[in-house]
């Protein structure tokens, strides 16, 4: 017990979260789009079609490359898959007027277009497969419903489609109690700190459980490294561009417009039935942010065949487990 207490204290005193090195896989930037960039993780030997990954806008992209041995991009690269990853960057106060049309029809569409061009030049690939995680997946789904030829196939991970099935989050994000306009008018962007606190409050006891798990496994060096890396990633939230956040919460959480319809983006109705890319929907069994039912709702709306599959883990934990890379590789090889 005393030895464990000593290990625990020594570990915390060494400031492990600040020292944690995440997102270390070598990559090069092939496209700049304001603050967003497309990073290419090139494999040593190309064996498969390139994939494009649309990450969430709430945290950083590094959850897909957390640590060696716990990295989705590393696993895909090892299997010979070139990975083009969209890193949305960090919006500043000057980006508060960037709306969803600029993000989806602008940044996301352009990033996919430049990826397609680069993949053709570099790898001779005519088309790419697209992967979306969380809200990055929601945006990707909307984009591919509007521009079906941009990707050959679509894989979504923990991507909300039926927002009213998103558990506690949908209960909180309702127009009666959530002062959306006041918050955005006051802050400009939706602040990263507020986002972090909101997610922490989704499971208040989860904060304590985090410290307890460290206590229980403080003698395991690998676990300590993973714990520190997860903490580093978790603490690194980004602001959400104000106008885009206003539209996102209003349309998705208040109106559940992807299910109910009637959402006009850039003068055009968002209609998921226009999607042509066959889709794989992956959900995490213990996901309290996007429960499987919220993700699998795509089956009722998408215009092409949808295969649904549940993986072990939570909303974030699923990214550092072994099941996700295996499921993606199976899909890529199919």
């Amino acid at each position: 017990m005393l030895q464990r207490a000593e290990n625990y204290s020594r570990f915390l005193v060494s400031d492990p979260v600040a020292k944690a090195k995440i997102g270390q896989s070598p990559n090069r930037i092939i496209h700049h789009d304001r603050k967003a960039v497309v990073r290419l993780f090139a494999p040593a030997e190309v064996k498969h079609q390139p994939v494009f990954v649309s990450m969430p806008l709430i945290n950083t992209w590094t959850i897909f490359d957390l640590l060696p041995g716990r990295s989705v991009v590393e696993s895909l690269n090892k299997a010979g898959v070139p990975v083009y990853l969209l890193d949305w960057g960090r919006p500043g106060p000057e980006d508060s007027q960037i709306n969803l049309e600029l993000l989806i029809d602008g940044t996301l569409r352009r990033s996919m277009d430049r990826t397609r061009r680069d993949a053709k030049t570099r790898y001779g690939a005519d088309q790419v497969d697209a992967i979306g995680y969380c809200v990055g997946g929601t945006y990707l789904t909307i984009l591919l419903a509007r521009y079906p030829d941009l990707a050959r196939r679509l894989a979504l991970l923990a991507t909300p489609i039926d927002f009213h099935a998103s558990g506690r989050l949908s209960l909180w994000a309702n127009p009666e109690t959530f002062p959306l306009d006041e918050v955005i008018d006051g802050h400009g962007n939706f602040p990263a700190e507020m986002m972090k606190q909101s997610f922490a409050w989704l499971r208040p006891m989860g904060q304590l459980a985090k410290w307890k798990s460290l206590w229980d496994k403080s003698e395991n060096a690998d676990f300590r490294t993973l714990w520190a890396a997860m903490e580093a990633w978790n603490n690194d939230n980004t602001d959400f561009a104000g106008a885009a956040y206003r539209e996102y919460v209003r349309r998705c959480y208040f109106d559940n417009a992807l299910m109910a319809g009637g959402w006009k983006l850039g003068g055009e109705t968002v209609d998921l039935s226009k999607g042509k890319a066959p889709a794989l929907v992956l959900a995490a069994a213990d996901d309290h942010i996007v429960p499987p039912v919220a993700a699998f709702a795509l089956k009722d709306r998408w215009g092409a065949p949808v295969v649904a599959r549940t993986l072990r883990g939570g909303h974030v934990g699923v990214c550092v487990g072994k099941e996700l890379p295996a499921a993606l590789l199976e899909w890529i090889r199919a």
């Binding site: 304001r34 106060p93 000057e94 980006d95 602008g106 352009r110 002062p179 006891m205």
Partner: protein
């Protein structure tokens, strides 16, 4: 000795069990609190109040900077916003250029295909002309041969 150890309570297990029970009861309590309309209403008002205070503070800072004739955060944000808009326009121009490049490539391919087809047609025509010329030469030679044969007779 062994018997006394078996009877001795396992404090680690006991503390783990106690923690689990306590965690479960606390989770239930928190669930009731954070899902209650009263809590959500209060949190909403709190967030709105904080945002309003933050906005007012920012405005007062900008007003003060203006009175001191120095650029405030609002001025810098406006400047950065212009840069962002310019960047967006440049990106749209890049889109147009790439689109034009695609069309030019298509046109180039079509034009090249047209030239290849025209060249093939010309070659075909030349071959036909050559054949016709050979036939004409043969026909022109035929009466002369006939005259020669007649005079010899």
């Amino acid at each position: 000795m062994a018997e006394s150890q078996e009877n001795f309570p396992d404090f680690t297990k006991m503390s783990n069990d106690f923690y689990k029970q306590w965690e479960q009861s606390m989770t239930q309590w928190w669930d009731q609190v954070i899902d209650s309309p009263a809590f959500l209403d209060a949190m909403g008002k709190n967030a709105a109040g904080y945002a309003k205070a933050r906005g007012s503070w920012q405005k007062s800072m900008d007003d003060m900077a203006e009175k001191m004739h120095v650029p405030g955060k609002g001025d810098l944000v406006r400047l950065a916003r212009i840069c962002t808009m310019l960047e967006e326009r440049l990106l749209r121009q890049e889109d147009h250029i790439l689109l034009l490049q695609d069309r030019l490539e298509t046109l180039e391919k079509e034009a090249l295909q047209g030239r290849i087809e025209a060249a093939e047609a010309r070659l075909e025509l030349r071959d036909r002309l050559q054949k016709m010329e050979d036939l004409l030469v043969k026909l022109a030679d035929a009466p002369a041969d006939a005259r020669r044969r007649k005079s010899a007779e």
